[in-house]
Amino acid sequence: MDYYCTSDFENSVNLLCKKPKDGYSKCRTDIKDFFHFKQFNELWNTPTKLNEIFPLRIIKTRLSNSSLNVGKSSGYRIIYLINSETHDLTFLHIFPKTGKYGVENISDKELEKLLETFLSEKSKNALIKLDMSKYA
């Protein structure tokens, strides 16, 4: 399957990885560890499914944060859009639950903006293609 991300997502990851003292420096490795060897069906069926209009699903899932040595519940939340026809997965957003940049949750208004960015970047062929095997 093919992995993409929006510029919003890339910017968030860059910010999180910037300073090791913030406790998110292994963010890319955590993403790779979670997604790299998973099959499409597993990622399609991962909770929590926020919305679905076939063949698209918006999923919010939990990742552990190995930098802070915390499990999924206190780790990261990743929002991704997955397409069951093309088998594409696009990362829209990532936020940590705890630490300096800790965020409680995402709202539907924020989700609107993420989808607008996705649509705009997809229209301009500006989505960033990711090689999960080298993502770290």
Partner: protein
């Protein structure tokens, strides 16, 4: 000859000894009581953490496909969150809080996770379905 000066000195020495002994004893007692209370609190909080984490993991699966069930249990979850938040306040105000901080933090995170699950029920079954813009955007994405 046992003079009044000796008597005063004797009483003074005895008093001093009692003061030292009792203060040492009560300090030791206080420390023991504090440590006992810390251990008891940690044990109780750990019991609750195990139950909370088990519940949270089950809820994430349970809310995935059943709107009716999710909305049905939401009120009970709000009651549970309210009770847990009261306990969080009790822990933070308690004089032993510095001694149980690391265990307490794990519990606070479990409570935050429960709060997130309740928010997700609203997001998934109420806010997003009512948000026309999101659904229009997804339809446009499919057309692309």
């Amino acid at each position: 000859m046992y003079t009044i000066e000796n008597k005063i000195q004797d009483v003074y020495a005895t008093t001093e000894k009692v003061i030292v002994d009792t203060s040492l004893e009560s300090e030791e007692e206080r420390t023991n009581k504090y440590l006992d209370t810390v251990l008891l609190f940690k044990e109780k909080i750990n019991e609750i953490i195990v139950k909370f984490d088990d519940l949270n993991e089950s809820l994430i699966v349970e809310i995935e496909d059943s709107k009716e069930k999710s909305l049905y249990i939401k009120d009970s979850l709000i009651d549970l969150l309210s009770s847990a938040n009261k306990f969080v306040a009790v822990i933070k105000k308690n004089h032993i809080y510095p001694g149980i901080k690391s265990t307490a933090r794990i519990f606070f995170n479990s409570v935050k996770q429960l709060k997130e699950i309740i928010q997700d029920i609203d997001l998934k079954y109420i806010n997003i379905p009512q948000n026309e813009k999101i659904n229009n955007l997804m339809s446009k994405i499919i057309e692309k």
